[in-house]
Symmetry: C2
Subunit: 756 residues, 2 copies
Amino acid sequence: MRSSLYALSIVFLVCPSMAFSGTRLVDYVDPRIGSEGLGRVVVGPCAPFGMVRPSPDCTPSPNSGWLPMPERVDGFSQVHVSGTGGGPKYGNILLLPFNGGSDHTGMYDYRENETILPAYYSCSFKSGIKTEITSTERSVAYRFVYPESGTRNLKIDAGFFLGETPVPDAREAQQFVGSEIQVISDCAVSGYSRIRGGWNNGRAYTVYFYLESDVPFSETSTWKGENVTDSKFQIDTGEKTGALLRFGEKGDTVNVRVGISFISELKARYNCEKETKGKSFGQIREELLGRWEELLKRVEIDPTAQEEHKRMFYTALYHTMLMPSDRSGENPLWSDPVPYYDDFYALWDTYRTSMPLMTLIDSGRVSEIVNSLVNICKRDGFMPDARSGNCNGRTQGGSTADIVIADACVKGVAGIDYDEALRAMLVNATVPPGGNEEAEGRGGLREYLELGYIPHGIARAGNRTVEYSLCDFAIHQVAKCLGNDSLASFYLRQSESWKNLWRDDYEHDGARGFIMPKDASGNWLDELPFGHSKSQRPTYRYTPLTFEGPWYTPWWNMFFYEASSWEYSLSIPHDVPGLIARCGGNEAFDRRLDTFFEKGYFNVNNEPSFMSPCLYHWIGRPDKSGERVLDIIRENYDDSPQGLPGNDDSGAMSSWLVFNMCGIYPNAGHDYYLIHTPVLKSAAFKLESGKTFKITADNLSADNRYIIQAYLNDVPYDYSTIRHSDIMKGGELRLVMGAMAGKWGERMFEESEVKK
Amino acid sequence: MRSSLYALSIVFLVCPSMAFSGTRLVDYVDPRIGSEGLGRVVVGPCAPFGMVRPSPDCTPSPNSGWLPMPERVDGFSQVHVSGTGGGPKYGNILLLPFNGGSDHTGMYDYRENETILPAYYSCSFKSGIKTEITSTERSVAYRFVYPESGTRNLKIDAGFFLGETPVPDAREAQQFVGSEIQVISDCAVSGYSRIRGGWNNGRAYTVYFYLESDVPFSETSTWKGENVTDSKFQIDTGEKTGALLRFGEKGDTVNVRVGISFISELKARYNCEKETKGKSFGQIREELLGRWEELLKRVEIDPTAQEEHKRMFYTALYHTMLMPSDRSGENPLWSDPVPYYDDFYALWDTYRTSMPLMTLIDSGRVSEIVNSLVNICKRDGFMPDARSGNCNGRTQGGSTADIVIADACVKGVAGIDYDEALRAMLVNATVPPGGNEEAEGRGGLREYLELGYIPHGIARAGNRTVEYSLCDFAIHQVAKCLGNDSLASFYLRQSESWKNLWRDDYEHDGARGFIMPKDASGNWLDELPFGHSKSQRPTYRYTPLTFEGPWYTPWWNMFFYEASSWEYSLSIPHDVPGLIARCGGNEAFDRRLDTFFEKGYFNVNNEPSFMSPCLYHWIGRPDKSGERVLDIIRENYDDSPQGLPGNDDSGAMSSWLVFNMCGIYPNAGHDYYLIHTPVLKSAAFKLESGKTFKITADNLSADNRYIIQAYLNDVPYDYSTIRHSDIMKGGELRLVMGAMAGKWGERMFEESEVKK
């Protein structure tokens, strides 16, 4: 709370023109939440699903570029991803205002203070130069205020990128390909940066820029490699290039606008002029705030909620709408009249909650994204599981675009050709992806189809098997929607493949039955062989708590990716009843869940356990789901910079929080939400139809944390789930809270739904 | 002969400055040979392995762009491939000089006359405008001479490309992605064209250009789509763009220089200025002729040879050095300090004769190409079998880069890391390529490894099996060179896989034993199932002469690609003794070969039968090999525009001719050449060491067409092969010809070589 007031005071002090009367929802957005620690969200000004995400770049830098003071700042680059882990991507076209001599290119500076707000970033350097940043979708506006004394200079580094390593070929490292720069007038510079690799091991992408200043340059120089010259341009010869500009005239303030494009320098200029021409810095910021306000107000929460909860909620909603990047019209690979999105980073993270949340508040966006995914399959051969820099790359487990499509389909998202989408899903399910089998599609597909599971020896055998089962269920769902019963049945059967790795008699910590490694001959493996030596056959013990192998076993080659068997053995969202049966029935499952949470086997900071707290629903105990959810939020989420317990992963963590604060949770690929104790007394979804669906929790308090009764549009409602179609009708789900759990919610579905 | 004199007279008439005294070898190059009919060679001025290949583009157009008069001309585009079949590629940045109004963009013209010479193209249009073209490696020089009356205009079409179809997604069709153009001064224009697809179904490539005129523009307009405006630029919005220029001042001649780049417009400008600045049209042409002369004189043939033979020979040598394209420093995908070649179109065509010929006359080029292939594997995952537009695509059969490497290795080509090259070969041999399995690597690899052959149901099962065997042998060769005996043995065994499709008891036209389709269960198939209907199971009969299936069976899905079993059952170059044994021994093999040629089963216009005429060597009858070769050349090759019997395929046909005219023929991947009756009385190879190796044929005449004795450096030489290392030592192979075949050449190798 203190830090937020501080930020507001800064705004009033330094940006009086930006002060506003009356509170807007966007005022509750604090981009610092989740910026430190594991969260890794981008702090700079961003448009919803925007193409640019400017941010200061600190050394050493996470993918978001930013680190808290006192880290040094290399400058401000224009493109970042938000909340991602692993190797870096982007960090292109770096600006750094500086004063003093300009005979070298390696300058940097240190912050003395910093302000981070939605649609606004500013900092003052030790040099006395102040930088303010706001943005549009594809352009960035800078306002530099230089001290009276000293020169007013700007460095443009077209060779900079995040995560440069001494071994440029290192896995996940970005690698420099080329760059170019030219001073095209006394107030404009253009150029590009071409980079390959990065987290998704992608092909080369090119970030073009066009920069225009409102103060003419009095001097310019450009560089290539180590060589600074007075040439007006530097041609791409595979070396790093940049420019040093000096601004003439009197005055302290220089406004600079930077357009970005993935197509060309002229397109970057077009983007710059279309979005910023004739607009002041303040206007640009206000317009961006207005766009956010428009989206944020689609969910109106209890106005009396705690300020912290408001900040957590609306910041989480904001984080949900940062990624992927809308690059429609900016695709250098093909030009179809279909939206084009990039930076799926990764669908494995976002299919569970981010995409379902967007379906509730902006289904048109979901339609665009799904159409983009299907079109990528048409042109590139496969839908992405992850994609960045115009290149599919890095499947973590399943081909989870399938689940995004199934979720849209069962919820009736309009504007999608589901027949074509189904064909793209069937590519995932039937065509081996080849190569290193981690770029797209389903690695180990042939083994999966032949054996019914992925055997040990293939990377991520465990979670691939589990997730391919879920993706098969997604195909079942879409085929069923389309009336293709034979296909639906086939994939429903195949969706049981997870059972082929279920080791019934394996006991661990009181639980019986785990998903465990099996070899291609069908033998369960307690000791996993690793390494390639002919004389040695080293092994290591694999247990349901194993996360890592010996140090020379790459972590992406583990049986489960980023998780243990305790987690994945509870992650069968498409067949929880089947899972419960395998676990020994309701009581055993209840105990198992309790052990899971109480022993700390639950991993709050990664997606595979996202739905685990709600599994109590399936044994008629939504009260326990609610308890777990409230505990998790209370213990792990807050409105501080460390307020996210893991990588936000393109808003995955944040959208998990949004749902759970409202008291509903989606099971992606299914048409229902699980109802549990909310954090907020009310949340009203302003539906696209113009209707409103409101969830209220009467008498909710720290003591009254159990749902004892529920009413849907004033009719008593006994089920612990609500269907998407019922939400779409508008109305109110009224929960009556009490201090003791009762019988409410013992059943999840109406009878007709039980066997689904 | 007549047409060639005509061409020379044109030169003397219209280009007196280009007349030369004393005959140069390049004067024997006639780019019209193979330009009509099936040959499809590019007729425009080209540098050796150059990046640009300008040519007039006629509608409808082959890949080379050109068609003979009276076809209309759309203009002159800057990039083409030479000799290729199938769908089109390139045809980018079209120029058309015109007079009259410039309010539309769809103009074209008709030729009244045309001159095609090495390093020079010219034509006069019905409009009275004359166009002359010459080129450098990466730039094109135009000289336009306009009639006194009328305006002097030039159209630059940045949206043009070859083979636009009404169904842009058609297989092999090029598809438009985007384009851009800007008039950057009163004498310069730059822009780009971005195209995807084409024959290799490649990702988007971008051709940037920079055009400079020696006469200032008096008026300019630009267009996008249908809309012509006076704007100085057109930004890429996924539509076609172009510019219409009018030249001011008095005079009739306008010189225009066009730089091309695959990196950027600035790089295109750099290429233009570096290669053409300050040089006249005539100088540029003379320099290019000089470069060709330097290469052509590495083989000096009998100066008394027939003029037709000289033209055939040096034109074929010229055609061998057009492709692939040296794009070092022009790779938009990565920037390694390794040469970068594109337009392998395809190695399947060129591994047999083009690459071995380059090894003899310019091994440094082979080293560059192999290093490029290995580097592509490092960066893109696989070496190409075909590659164009910076994208691997379209394997036709084997992973034939393997054979290119083996050929270089056994011949000791320096400057290659063969350990790294072997690793790239092992990727082909062990990693399934995925997707549609036709872009790179070995489709059906898992079946090949599991069953020892590719079963029916996988496209091109027959020639894939045969060619994978050969590629396995290539791995054997390299592993052996490197002393890795176990790997060498493993792949030698695997190179016998062709035998698994050898159907011993199948008889056809007197021959016994053919490579025939087999299903995955091991059943031979006389009737091949096709189609997907559940109720129907249609089949068609497959025989050793079958080329095509029912019309709805795509030809690229046939058992053999572009060939019959009669052809492929003789195409086991790495184990001809094993093949002879399977065919029933020497006599049966002799009869079989005779049937093959006499019944017309031999296909002169495709590569799989390239070595078939020389198979008589293996039964001790090099005299019959010589007869076949001479007959084939006499009946199918001449110095006319139809002088090549098939697609030249990046010089494959032409390099076959060069070898056979000299009387030697390489078995790619082996270190020897087969010796047979030459067409030429002498051919002297000027080796890079400074030594010369000369092949002479004493008494050669129409009557004396048999080698009766041979001497290597004056020592009697009885074998019908000569090793590469013996050629490299320099010296002379003197063949003594007679009217009757004798005992010469009954043995192929020295004893120690027999069991290789």
